[in-house]
Point group: D3
């Protein structure tokens, strides 16, 4: 993992932008690992910065969707980091509980729909 | 698939409740397939009714999380039905576009975190 | 897809063995597609023949496990073919319904366990 | 995690039922984590109690299917807990070995079927 | 789907760049669907253009890795489009056959490693 | 885990072949776990030996595809072992970085294609 003190100017520029945009004073391990590949570090950060900025969806909704996908994919790092991020953005414990209930249910019914080979209703087609 | 006209009283009772709660006059294929197994039909509907009711999260946020998981799992039936449900609950086109962008990004960074074997930061531990 | 009439002697030998072992007179598309790569055709068939033969688990249990995984993975071809195979091996409609209920539930609780970051109990460690 | 001693009467009632149905004297971490959300705790337990009760499939077959899905999904907690549960229900080491062989094979052929874009045979359609 | 004739100048600029870089005269449906969300269209194309350009890995190796992941994820659109792209970049039928064999095997052993709860060897730790 | 010193002649024969083919003097935990089920140990090794031998694809390309699938599936053991194997076969750090970038991107666009329900272009059909 590449610490700030050991980082090239190119990597430091990304680290600085991350801390500015997120209004924080530290860099989490995900970015320190990606820093081994500066183009991926930059591209991933620029994409996340663009995608996670409030727009038609607010910040907490976006973080909850990110967490929902990470929980569904069972990615331990991503669940840990985005649970913190979602809480920082305003997710309360009851919101987390309801989020997880929906994630669990969606994973159940996705398999019921597939296993029962349910045909898409005409009204649901584009 | 079991149509309303051919359904047992037990199945009809679930169908009736679905139409009442959802304020609609038809039953989509998912339920008609599950109706072959009345206990699963009833349990699944009671669970969804409880989970999807507005609470700490409103209806459109819940439907968007359901859609996010279904898109991440690549379940064609579920994507089709929950896109319609989310729109009915208030999801606009810009909201859908931002939702999909987050789903795509989460799936990308989940694999980057795993492939780079990123250790969970102390601050992210429970 | 490579039909029996057009198959090389090497491929025909596998097709013949499939029909003999399965006591059937036709070859399904999966094998006709793999026949483009005879080593994969042979290796896959030999593995399946060995794995699916009754042993500590009987044939219908093995086919139901195969179907459970295929439904969980949402593979349309595999769900279709292994539903037929499991029925042929003795799976009744109530058995299928209970199988699907377990598959759905396992997919739900897998995500609840991951999302809630549940630590493995000491008693469950190897 | 919510221990029995700290649990509300509502949560204790579920814990008591779990211990009665499973004929055991302890509660594993999964339930202690869900106890933060009593409606999900109750709903998940009621569903599992209903689904896992012997019916057309016996207890060990259901536990093996649960384990097969958990291994296929690569959920560490679920693999650990359901390996223990399946053994308690009667799964021997040879049964476990055959179960894992089927899970591995199904995951392989699911991807071969998808990657080769195998069309579903007419005889396999519903 | 947004056709070239109906596209805004912003979308047309991306379409033009896709056709130039890929030395082709048509736009496939993936981009026509993303064109409903111009920022995602542009960001996705810029990322793919950067990632798929030959570097330490040549074009055909990158396309085969893309196809391997798509086959493993069982995404029908992605399998279809990247099989064509990989062939155009130089993948022969024997290369495709060996690629699919590796994808199948990796999916099998991934689940064996998880199901048997294999501990990571000291020599494999970072 | 079954060590060499404790292994049956049948298991030792596989261990010996693994060490000979891989030109190494140790056995990693994956095989020691599978050794509890000698038929699966033998079948898995024979399959891997056949599949991973250089053919139309060279050894490093095959190891990178194996790693790409393992990273996409988020299998910690498989990522750890195949990162080492791919490096031993010649994968440099820049090659690893480009590999991971493709894996991440494929996982993103797989979900965009599914979520936007993109229809397969006529030119991409078989």
């Amino acid at each position: 993992m590449i610490e700030y003190a050991d980082a090239s100017p190119e990597v430091r520029a990304v680290y600085d932008d991350i801390m500015t945009v997120r209004q924080t004073d530290w860099i989490n391990n995900f970015w320190k690992a990606l820093a081994h590949d500066p183009p991926t570090l930059r591209r991933t950060w620029e994409s996340i910065k663009q995608i996670m900025a409030p727009g038609a969806l607010d910040a907490v909704t976006k973080e909850m969707i990110y967490l929902a996908v990470s929980a569904s994919n069972q990615c331990p790092y991503c669940i840990a980091s985005h649970t913190v991020a979602a809480r920082k953005a305003g997710m309360t414990e009851p919101m987390f509980a309801e989020l997880m209930a929906v994630v669990g249910m969606a994973n159940e019914t996705n398999r019921l729909a597939s296993g029962y080979r349910v045909e898409i209703d005409e009204r649901f087609r584009q």
